[in-house]
Subunit: 304 residues, 2 copies
């Protein structure tokens, strides 16, 4: 059996099965970040790593600055989705011998620019030779107040689902230049009891079922309510991925107040109510083929 | 200019120039680990990342278990060299679609075995598709008592240089199966004022000049005293790399007591006194071509 015959989620489940962790691991594999005790009653430490590979996540002629920015911004987006604030980063940069130094320096300049923008301190890392292409991995730590830790697993039936920004069409540029929702996530977790939250990296059609799965609930999605990027389709909004927007679930009693205050606080960032979490019994989604399932539905409410 | 035209140390210097770090970064780029404040008077947090690439650090037919063990043990060795104890690890595993699942599971089994052996908790990571081969990056955190942090930069002229174990010939197997000097380093930093310490990953001929450089001193090496692996040559001991032994510098007044107690505590681990640190003025090594420089010296004392 080869890797192309197994779904990524299933692979991760197999690899991380039987991992033993003590009680000091508050959040283990399967969420946006890991969260561990750090000897403080108030704070938890967040840990996240993320990689970008030439030929997979960017092409050989992508602007190096934007590659670097993206590599750093991706981990920041995950730390944000947990309600945290990033701290330090280690950068692994592997490249083949024929790569131009200017390209590597450009990638590093992008990493530094994003680090400065989001308050991350690059404290080390390494360079290595690769047989081909360029590989960048960024490991970032952060911290979150224990009371504000947002996970994928706390969603409850009846919760209102919100999504920030617009979805779809990221490939036309946003996937390189996105601005992680750090401020927005901090505001949300400070002011509201966010039952579940994650950043949308693989597309709503993949990520929403993951959140519902982690929470042990189902969901109903109002496709008409999806905030679609100008020029993109509903299909793009569901399937494209790399939106790096926040998907979160809150108690219906808080939803209206949250919407009102959001518009005052972040007038230029769309916030859309896109559906609800439901009883698991009312239908857990058989979304192994999530994309196509969603793509067949052009409108209306899906109970899945 | 391409990467093959620049020395790795020079590349790292260029990339990490102008990195801004606050006072909470105790140890930044250039040492075995980064060390940062963690809100404790007693403890510092250590951060380390390290990668293994198929075709560079192992071959396609290397036993997957051993690849995984090595990937984890390398970061443990760096944490040990700083006097610390490893805590959590995030594992990035990128592989091409045609890789066998059994191989990836084997690598992960090796990672888990080493993690269990050295008290590391794997708390997450990611899998990704690569255009070819296998790429593994492990990001590990740890902690060290502030008073016991060992760096590369504290060496003083006159310090005695010690090295653990035997050097050279690692390629015949040790580079995959080595056992990081975690206990030994903890004992050393608990009992002695270790002025400078690092793990030997690129070979004494490269790493000793790095330590001297970081400490702003020179060194004199007694080549006859080098502990050479059975079947290897002095040249191997200086140049091969991947020894994962400890190199450290202590005050001469402490050296004899340290040797005596070491033999009682670790009777099966050789400890060799291989030279001294010297005044920078007595000769900083022009070791851009460190390997060949060393290889020309078959015996005797090198003041470099």
């Amino acid at each position: 059996m080869t890797l192309e015959q197994i779904h990524e989620d299933e692979l991760v489940r197999r690899l991380t099965a039987n991992l033993t962790a003590g009680s000091e691991v508050v959040l283990g594999p399967g969420d946006d970040c890991a969260a561990v005790e750090c000897g403080s009653r108030k704070w938890l430490r967040l840990l996240k790593t993320d990689c970008l590979i030439e030929g997979v996540h960017f092409s050989p002629d992508t602007d190096p600055m934007r590659i670097g920015w993206k590599a750093m911004a991706r981990t920041v987006s995950d730390i944000a989705a947990c309600g945290g604030k990033p701290g330090h980063a280690l950068v692994t940069l592997a490249a083949s011998a024929e790569q131009r130094l200017a390209k590597i320096e450009g990638i590093y300049a992008g990493l530094k620019r994003a680090a400065a923008e989001f308050g991350v301190t690059i404290v080390g890392g390494e360079t290595a030779r690769a047989p081909q292409g360029v590989f960048i991995s960024v490991a970032t730590d952060g911290r979150v107040r224990r009371s504000r830790l947002a996970t994928r697993s706390g969603g409850l039936p009846g919760d209102v689902l919100f999504v920030t920004g617009k979805l779809g069409g990221s490939i036309h540029g946003k996937h390189l230049d996105f601005y992680p929702r750090l401020l927005e996530a901090a505001w949300l977790t400070r002011r509201y009891d966010i039952h579940a939250m994650m950043d949308l990296s693989d597309g709503l059609g993949t990520d929403l079922p993951r959140m519902a799965d982690a929470s042990g609930v189902g969901f109903a999605l109002t496709v008409d309510a999806l905030p679609v990027t100008d020029g993109a389709t509903v299909g793009n909004a569901i399937s494209d991925g790399e939106d790096y927007e926040l998907l979160f679930a809150v108690d219906p009693a808080a939803a209206e107040d949250l919407e009102t205050r959001w518009r005052r606080k972040f007038p230029y960032v769309p916030l859309s109510r896109i559906g609800n979490l439901t009883d698991a019994a009312s239908g857990r989604t058989p979304l192994a083929s999530g994309f196509s399932y969603f793509l067949d539905c052009k409108t209306g409410t899906i109970s899945s």
